[in-house]
């Protein structure tokens, strides 16, 4: 049976180095570029000939941009307008990477914790930076909820601090774990189909069961791909809201 972890392996296609750092062109690089290409294609198809009554691609693009604009407006408010392109970039990158990863033989960029953690760290840094820039040291009142009794203050601040610092971890692990687990499950069930069919006889007939399972899981994984991108963008909005509006 094929190794279900094989799909996550990084394959180095070309050795490159930038200022002495390892910048090899790998399958991850290739699929990141593919994600970029698909996103740009989507924008091109959706906005090359804008109509008052939108065509299919225009309606699709405007649906996604309207969805993200609405999410930012709802969670941050008018002050969040400047962050719409940022949230949209995160959403579309994660969404397209998740969906591209569902094609057989493809590579899922978001199934690597280093990628998801890089995103989460970026979001964390943006949140802290925006908070400090907008509110200065007053930003740290984020860790002191209103009407906290003085006695409980140290404990509450500690809890708030831990929950704040754990945000990049939960954000990155949630996406990484969802994508990895789903792809492993798909691979395992698909491997069963091959193994059973290869065994022949009655076992070959049973291979229908894992096949049906694979199809069902595939549908579930499509939902997970979209939902995880949504959750990622939504949490980014919520974290940005904390930095911009301080609760």
């Amino acid at each position: 049976m094929a190794n279900p972890l094989e799909q996550f392996e990084i394959k180095r296609y070309a050795e490159l180095s930038v200022a002495g750092a390892d910048a090899a062109f790998t399958n991850a690089s290739l699929f990141m570029l593919l994600v970029l290409g698909i996103t740009l294609l989507f924008f091109w198809l959706g906005s090359r000939n804008p109509q008052l009554v939108p065509g299919r691609w225009q309606a699709a693009l405007e649906g996604v941009t309207g969805f993200i604009s609405g999410m930012v407006d709802e969670n941050i408010g008018p002050k969040g307008r400047a962050f719409v392109p940022f949230v949209f970039s995160l959403f579309i990158f994660v969404l397209v990477a998740n969906l591209v990863g569902l094609f057989p033989y493809s590579f899922t960029v978001t199934s690597h914790i280093i990628v998801t953690f890089a995103f989460a760290a970026l979001i964390f840094l943006v949140c802290v930076g925006v908070g400090l820039w907008k509110h200065g040291l007053h930003f740290f009142s984020l860790f002191v909820p209103e009407n906290t009794p003085i006695v409980l203050m140290p404990l509450i601040v500690l809890i708030e601090l831990i929950s704040f610092l754990s945000r990049p971890l939960t954000l990155s692990i949630r996406l990484f774990a969802n994508m990895t687990a789903g792809h492993i499950l798909l691979k395992v069930f698909a491997g069963f189909v091959i193994s059973l069919a290869a065994a022949g006889g009655a076992l070959a007939a049973i291979s229908v069961l894992p096949f049906a399972m694979t199809v069902a899981f595939y549908g579930l994984e499509l939902i997970v791909a979209v939902v995880q991108a949504y959750v990622f963008a939504l949490l980014t909005c919520i974290y940005l809201n904390d930095s911009i509006n301080l609760h």
Partner: protein, 159 residues
């Protein structure tokens, strides 16, 4: 698990930085264009709706104006027909009264002439009676009586 082989982390981070940076710049440039299209549509729909509302109100005003004109015309027509009816009634009344008066005069004149004729007839009756008396006296007694005497006698008897 290949994900925890961090010897491959650096190229991924570098490529992600490059690709996501490009993606962010592209989105920042392209996003406002898409939003502008949406906003234009929203503005257009809003303007169209406002226009339709104005047209609707104008139509409503025209309808109510028409109704008012209709009511006015009806009232005027009623007034005119009423006046005409009153005038016709008055004319009829007058004509009736005239006719009544004419008839009364005629009847009076007729009654008067009848009375005169009767009087005349009664007056003539006396002379007829005198003539008859003269004739009777001549036949019965063979006497010749003058008309005057006869008339006197008749008058005496009639009185």
């Amino acid at each position: 698990m290949p994900q925890f082989d961090f010897s491959q982390a650096l190229p991924q981070i570098l490529w992600l930085t490059l690709v996501f940076g490009l993606l962010y710049l592209a989105v920042r440039g392209l996003y406002p264009r898409v939003e502008k299209v949406v906003e234009n549509r929203k503005a257009r729909i809003g303007a169209d709706l406002k226009e339709a509302e104005a047209a609707h109100q104008a139509a409503e005003a025209a309808t109510s104006g028409g109704a008012a004109a209709l009511a006015d015309a009806r009232a005027r027509a009623l007034a005119v027909t009423g006046k005409a009816r009153d005038a016709a009634a008055a004319t009829t009344q007058r004509k009736l009264a005239d006719a009544d008066a004419g008839l009364g005069a005629t009847a009076e004149a007729a009654a008067k002439s009848l009375g005169q004729q009767r009087e005349t007839a009664i007056a003539e009756l006396d002379s007829i009676a005198a003539d008859a008396a003269v004739e009777l006296v001549k036949r019965v007694s063979g006497l010749e009586v003058s008309n005057d005497e006869a008339a006197k006698a008749v008058k005496k008897v009639a009185a």
